[in-house]
């Protein structure tokens, strides 16, 4: 589904990603871990096509299509979803209105009829239960005045509505208490299928107790320096990142 080969990227003049290789197949959950400043969020942003991140080398193919030159909205329409670490507020635009626009833009791109309000509301009611989000919250301005937990739940709710093929969760656990974490993780798990894939970017192992990854990759200094299964995450939790850094720095 996603194939990243020797990806290099920089922000302004600073090279952040220095040769990333990653293969993600349908049905898989990959966790990207690593110390602060290792390039985790940059990788998430580059996949989504954020403009101030410049790809300087390598390939990124999504379902066989090269996406490096693709506009962010087209990547989204192709089925890439990014759950933001810091969801943005848009005053005066309700989540309902925002999502209806988004869903219909995506449908139009895929040659589908737009959803009418009745269908949309029905769909919404179903998906709301997944992340235990209330109608009143969705009628409010997008993310404005939402608590940290509400914002993250709203991200997963949007994901549920947009039904992406590849979901990238960027530090979705940050700022969540344990209950909110469980709700968010539950939502993600329920949305999992054999046809879609998830990349979980996180600093802590805690989220991985709830969203169990098939693979864990450790990102350090712009490269994936170690890959393994979920046990690797536990090891990191126990020992911290220093031993990985030490290993990587020797090489």
């Amino acid at each position: 589904m996603l194939s990243i080969k020797n990806l290099h990227a920089r922000v302004e003049e600073k090279e952040i990603l220095k040769g990333i290789n990653l293969e993600v197949k349908p049905g898989e959950v990959h966790a990207i871990m690593g110390p602060n400043g290792s390039g985790k969020s940059t990788l998430a942003s580059v996949l989504a096509g954020r403009e101030n991140f410049e790809v300087t080398g390598g390939e990124v193919a999504f379902e066989g299509k090269d996406i490096i030159e693709m506009a962010p909205e087209d990547r989204a329409r192709e089925g890439i979803f990014l759950a933001f670490q810091y969801p943005v507020e848009i005053p005066g635009v309700s989540t309902v209105n925002f999502l209806k626009t988004a869903v219909n833009e995506v449908r139009e791109y895929r040659g589908m009829q737009p959803m009418n309000s009745v269908e949309f509301l029905k769909e919404m009611k179903e998906k709301m239960q997944l992340v235990e989000i209330s109608q009143s919250l969705l009628n409010r301005s997008l993310n404005e005045g939402f608590s940290g937990g509400e914002k993250k739940r709203n991200e997963i709710f949007q994901m549920a509505m947009l039904e992406p093929k590849l979901a990238v969760l960027d530090e979705t656990d940050s700022g969540l208490d344990i209950d909110a974490l469980r709700i968010v993780a539950n939502g993600v798990n329920k949305l999992k299928s054999k046809d879609n894939a998830t990349i979980v970017v996180t600093h802590y192992q805690r989220l991985l107790d709830y969203i169990v990854p098939d693979y864990v990759h450790v990102l350090y200094n712009g490269r994936i320096v170690k890959s393994g299964t979920k046990e690797l995450a536990l090891e990191l939790e126990e020992k911290g990142y220093d031993w990985i850094k030490a290993e990587a720095d020797i090489i």
């Binding site: 909205e73 989204a76 848009i90 626009t101 791109y109």
Partner: protein
């Protein structure tokens, strides 16, 4: 060049969709302004002597005035001798039915999305329309239905003929002929406009609206609107305007007067979409308008809502004189400027009565190389015990070549007054756009979404069907001004 600027450049093609002209035989006055022209207009309109005298008085006063230049706008002053002050589509003087209206004219208004055919509207929402093209009113719809309730809704000229006592009593009572330069000019040469009277205790059963259209080249449009809401009555009034695309600057100097009696309420909404000039700033309408209402009696309420997207230069301050005790004045405004447009707009709230309240919500959106100013006065007079005002002035900037300015004046003579003023300036964030993009919404749609959200508080004040129009208009005006 940053990506912002690229997007900005890429989209600066915003098309003005009402730029067509209509080929209709015109009956016009010769160019220029003099007492003779004033007499000519008055004669054309078969006016009574008192009105001619009134016009001449205004004209003579106008001659003593200087064109004001305190507004934050720059433009080539119009040559008042190079303007045609009267231009009317040639047609039969009395129209019995719609069939007698020049089909070209009907076509014009139907292109603007305004149906003058009452039958067609019966199924949908009822809106009575007075259509004014160049100097004369073309057709007023639903007149009979309204008359059953005693409501008078007609062109200004007809009001002069049929209801001279009302016109005499109220014309100039809120905006005097000597009020300001453009008001004096209008008083001298106004050609038509709308008149509306709501009798005591009557709630007008439908929206009333006037559509203004400048068609002929070289003409100015000087219309007057007079609305009188008698005790305990209610009316919601909408005004829309468009003009063809022309290289020259055309002058529009209108006067709107609203008289609100005790316990009455008037909502006045404007969607102003005069031709703004081209991308280089050539052509466009000079929109120099005086709008004012008086809450004359106790508990009267006047609410102005305006969505200003057109005109090359806008100079306009719809105001409320809160004379009655506990009277309420509101001003909700969205002013959008793009390319080389300039807007200096705001309101005046004059608190005279006790316990009077006013609320100002102004949302400015500037894009391209435009300049957008809010100018507002809140004045609390000595006897206005417990006056309240809340003002909120927000500016949204797009790109780095436009300007947003705020000039709030506060003048309080009574210590019991509470006056609050809040102001913010923001830009559409790159992170907001990216967030929308990431959900599959392209940048242009994202901007429309964000701007509509930003203006929501004001758009919510508009009658439903016009709110939808206004939203589309905002998107159209800003097409491409995006960064």
């Amino acid at each position: 060049m940053s990506k912002d600027n690229e997007i900005l450049k890429e989209f600066t093609d915003s098309e003005y969709k009402y730029g067509f002209t209509t080929d209709i035989e015109q009956d016009a006055a010769p160019k220029g302004l003099s007492e003779d022209i004033v007499r000519f207009i008055s004669e054309k309109k078969e006016e009574p002597e008192w009105l001619l005298e009134w016009r001449l008085k205004a004209y003579r006063h106008w001659l003593t005035l200087e064109e004001p230049d305190w507004a934050n706008i720059g433009y080539e002053k119009p040559d008042f001798q190079d303007i045609i002050y009267y231009s009317a589509p040639k047609q039969k003087p009395e129209l019995e039915s719609l069939d007698e209206v020049d089909p070209e004219l009907l076509e014009t208004f139907s292109k603007l999305g305004i149906s003058l055919d009452e039958q067609k509207r019966l199924s949908g929402v009822k809106v009575a329309v007075d259509a004014v093209m160049d100097s004369v009113s073309v057709k007023t719809t639903f007149r009979e239905t309204l008359a059953e309730k005693g409501i008078i809704f007609c062109s200004f000229s007809e009001a002069v003929k049929d209801h001279p006592e009302l016109v005499k009593q109220y014309m100039g009572s809120v905006v005097s002929m000597t009020d300001n330069y453009y008001a004096a000019l209008n008083s001298a040469v106004f050609s038509d406009g709308s008149f509306c009277y709501i009798p005591k205790g009557v709630r007008c059963p439908m929206e009333l609206s006037t559509y203004f259209r400048i068609n002929a080249s070289g003409t100015g449009q000087f219309e007057r609107t007079l609305i009188v809401a008698d005790e305990g009555s209610y009316v919601s009034y909408l005004e829309g305007c468009t003009a063809p695309m022309r290289d020259e600057n055309q002058l529009h100097a209108a006067v709107v007067e609203i008289f609100v009696a005790k316990d009455a309420e008037v909502k006045y909404s404007t969607v102003q979409n005069w031709y703004p000039g081209d991308k280089e700033g050539k052509g466009g309408i000079y929109n120099f308008v005086t709008k004012r209402g008086i809450c004359d009696g106790d508990n009267a309420k006047l609410s102005w809502t305006q969505v200003e997207t057109g005109s090359a230069v806008t100079w306009k301050y719809p105001s409320c004189i809160l004379k009655g005790d506990r009277s309420i004045g509101e001003f909700y405004s969205v002013a959008v400027t793009n390319n080389y447009q300039q807007a200096d707009t705001g309101t005046k709230m004059i608190h005279i009565g006790k316990d009077t309240k006013s609320r100002i919500v102004s949302k400015g959106v500037s894009a391209g190389k435009s300049q957008n100013s809010y100018r507002g006065l809140v004045k609390v007079l000595k006897r206005a015990e417990n006056a309240r005002n809340f003002s909120q002035c927000d500016s949204l900037l797009m790109g780095s070549k436009c300007g947003a300015h705020t000039f709030p004046y506060i003048d309080v003579e009574n210590k019991s007054a509470h006056v609050e003023h809040e102001a913010t300036t923001s830009k559409i964030g790159e992170d907001q756009l990216f967030y929308c993009n990431q959900r599959g919404i392209d940048t242009e749609k994202a901007v429309a979404l964000i701007v509509n959200g930003y203006c929501k508080e004001v758009l919510n004040q508009l009658p439903m069907e016009f709110a939808v129009e206004a939203q589309k208009l905002l998107a159209l005006t800003l097409e491409g001004s995006v960064g």
